[in-house]
């Protein structure tokens, strides 16, 4: 393997995969650098898991090319398996084994890697190492799954929805761990449908919808691409129908206005000028304000702008 081939941790070209009734992945191209933390972002059913499982060599693509660490699955599966750390969505590890027994089992499959106790310490399960897996909390189980992905000292870590279903505290704990791996220079490909997770952890994200990548870049670039730093949302009760939306569009610093279900959503560049102007305009039109919210633009807003849907709607 040449150094040049190794510089790209992952190359995916024109990937396609269809199941009986649905096209799950529809022409995806991706490229990841070594040491990068890359996020596949999108609603459920967008094709994230199928894409990551094809990259993991668990699902065969209908067409397209996948190169992981400069190797291909059909030629170098054995070597690749030794160098990848994989955490799947919804794996239930055997409930009757202890934490230590589980990690030891997974460790036995890899030629190289840290000591069992070391990995357990890394995911902060020392105190639980003799507990049965069945007695662990959701967050602890997820950290154990992470430990099983780390036992081979992987060059490349695949995390499929690592924090789905966890409470906020457990999520934050897991984020801290993933950030540690980033600092240690590991390459990470993760999927998530949490915007905040992607914004916090990922160097770059690809937003997927209906099997296609609809946006690609750093979270900052993507947010900047919608051309607004802030979002203003307000409700005006039943009076919203009478509202003259075009007047709102003329307000200085307002980029886009969208009215739906009795509430209005505006993309705004200069919040401090737009909000007073909005309030003036509403009182001029005699529309009573029932709710007003503003927040900084996020990846969620990028998704909404691109698709007209909320991620959580799915």
């Amino acid at each position: 393997m040449s150094e040049i081939a190794l510089r790209a941790a992952l190359r995916v070209r024109n990937l396609r995969k269809a199941y009986k009734d649905v096209v799950a992945v529809d022409g995806v191209d991706l490229e990841m650098r070594l040491g990068e933390c890359f996020g596949l972002l999108g609603p459920n059913g967008a094709g994230k898991t199928t894409t990551i499982e094809i990259c993991e060599g668990l699902t065969a693509a209908d067409s397209g090319e996948v190169e992981v660490l400069g190797m291909r699955w059909n030629a170098h599966a054995k070597e690749l398996r030794q160098r990848l750390g994989i955490q799947l969505q919804e794996t239930q590890l055997s409930e009757k084994l202890t934490v230590m027994e589980t990690v030891r089992l997974f460790r036995s499959f890899f030629r190289h890697g840290p000591e069992v106790a070391e990995v357990i310490a890394l995911v902060q399960l020392d105190e639980k190492r003799k507990s049965r897996v069945g007695g662990l909390s959701g967050g602890q189980k997820q950290r154990l799954a992470l430990a099983c992905a780390l036992v081979g000292d992987p060059d490349f870590l695949f995390l499929d929805e690592p924090t789905t279903g966890l409470d906020p505290q457990a999520r934050r704990q897991l984020w801290d761990l993933i950030e540690q791996f980033k600092l240690a220079g590991r390459t990470i490909l993760m999927t998530t449908h949490y915007m905040d997770e992607a914004e916090r952890l990922c160097d770059r994200v690809a937003i997927m919808d209906h099997g296609k990548v609809i946006a690609l870049g750093t979270p900052r670039e993507l947010i900047a691409s919608i051309g607004a730093e802030h979002l203003v949302e307000f409700s005006a009760g039943g009076a919203v129908q009478a509202l003259d939306v075009s007047a709102l569009r003329r307000i200085e610093g307002v980029r886009e206005v969208r009215a739906e279900n009795g509430s209005v959503r505006m993309q705004v560049t200069e919040l401090h000028q737009a909000v007073p102007a909005l309030l003036d305009e509403l009182s001029r039109q005699g529309v009573p304000l029932t709710e007003l919210r503003t927040h900084s633009a996020s990846l969620e807003d990028v998704f909404v702008t691109l698709t007209g849907r909320h991620l959580r709607d799915e």
Binding site: E56, G57, L58, K78, R81, Q82, L84, I86, L88, E90, T91, Q92, L93, S94, K96, L97, E101, R104, L105, F106, R107, S108, F109, F110, R111, H112, G113, E115, C148, G152
Partner: protein
């Protein structure tokens, strides 16, 4: 990596997992070890050979009573005629002996009741001998109550065969389908684990548990009921191992695609239920009509049980059970080949 030992190898670890999952499941222990012993104990007690029963008879006169008491197998009671009638009618005695006209004896009994007929024979013999009859042919009895020909001797190899089948098919089927259902199998496939090690770990664990399983049941039979093992122990071991492998292959085939425990249970019961009935666990498979016999003989459980009975009760060697070995070998090869073709890792 400094203190890696042989125990850190993937095959050892996978096999250890099988053991741990088994030992930590109290129900599994019960069904594999305790249940067959309980069944053997219960049926062995229920169908034990009783000492010959002493039959109760009534005599109306003291002379008749005295004559009848010569017979050890009769328990004679002197009763008045009405009391004797009452005792006969209510089944307290099997026979009533009363004097008839002209020094004759009248026996009253129910000739549809075997006890009545036996009592009639014994009573008549006693009275005729008391009256001076000599037997023209001298005879003597030599009694046979040997281990090896009782029901428990027939039953134990049957239970052993049934246990070999159940533990192999359940052990294989549930564990594999459960791992597939929980996506644990998919997770293992995502590691560098050699896939054949995964299947091999089941076989290894099964063979090691087999030693305990067979030992417990045979030990119990030998200790409590003196059930013999007349054939050679190595031959018996070969039979158990081959049987267990054949059933494991069947279990693997059943579990090769099923995605839910319910589906797997249905398939396992469908496979095992007919064999529980026709393969001669509790009664001889010969009782089924002749046309069915070739089919029944071709079932793996029939083959195992027949071979075990031949070894334990008749002391047969492996050559003498070659047809059964052939049946088991065929099931092993066919099921295993099919299972490997059909097996899904996710």
């Amino acid at each position: 990596m400094s203190n890696t030992t042989w125990a850190d190898g993937p095959l050892v670890q996978l096999t250890l997992v099988r053991f741990r999952e088994f030992w930590r499941e109290p129900e599994a222990i019960f069904w594999v070890f305790v249940f067959p012993v309980l069944l053997a104990a219960g049926l062995g007690l229920a169908f034990r050979n009783r000492p010959p029963d002493v039959l109760k008879v009534a005599a109306v006169t003291p002379e008749l009573a005295r004559s009848l008491r010569q017979e050890k197998l009769l328990d004679v009671e002197r009763l008045s005629a009405p009391a004797a009638e009452e005792a006969l009618r209510t089944g307290k005695v099997a026979l009533l002996a009363a004097p008839g006209p002209g020094g004759a004896v009248v026996y009253r009994y129910d000739d549809t009741n075997p006890e009545g007929r036996t009592a009639r024979m014994l009573a008549d013999r006693a009275i005729e001998r008391a009256a001076g009859r000599a037997d023209p042919v001298a005879s003597s009895d030599r009694l046979m109550r040997e281990p090896g020909s009782r029901y428990i001797d027939f039953l134990l190899p049957g239970l052993l065969g049934m246990n070999l089948m159940g533990s192999a098919i359940w052990g294989m089927g549930f564990a594999i389908v459960d791992a597939r259902r929980k996506k644990l199998m998919k997770r293992l496939v995502a590691t560098p684990m050699p896939r054949h090690y995964y299947l091999l770990s089941f076989v290894l664990a099964r063979l090691l548990l087999l030693v305990v399983e067979v030992g417990v049941l045979l030990g119990f039979g030998a200790w409590v009921f003196q059930v013999p093992v007349r054939g050679s122990i190595p031959d018996l071991a070969v039979l158990c191992v081959l049987g267990s492998l054949a059933f494991s292959a069947l279990g693997l085939l059943i579990a090769s695609r099923a995605k839910t425990i319910e589906a797997a249970s249905g398939l396992m019961n469908t496979a095992m239920m007919p064999m529980w009935i026709v393969s001669g666990v509790f009664f001889s498979a010969q009782r089924f009509p002749g046309v069915l016999q070739p089919m029944i003989r071709a079932l793996p459980l029939t083959a195992v049980i027949d071979a075990l009975r031949a070894n334990m009760l008749q002391g047969a060697n492996l050559a003498q059970v070659a047809p059964q070995l052939g049946v088991l070998g065929a099931w092993l090869v066919v099921c295993f080949t099919l299972a490997l073709k059909l097996f899904r890792w996710r």
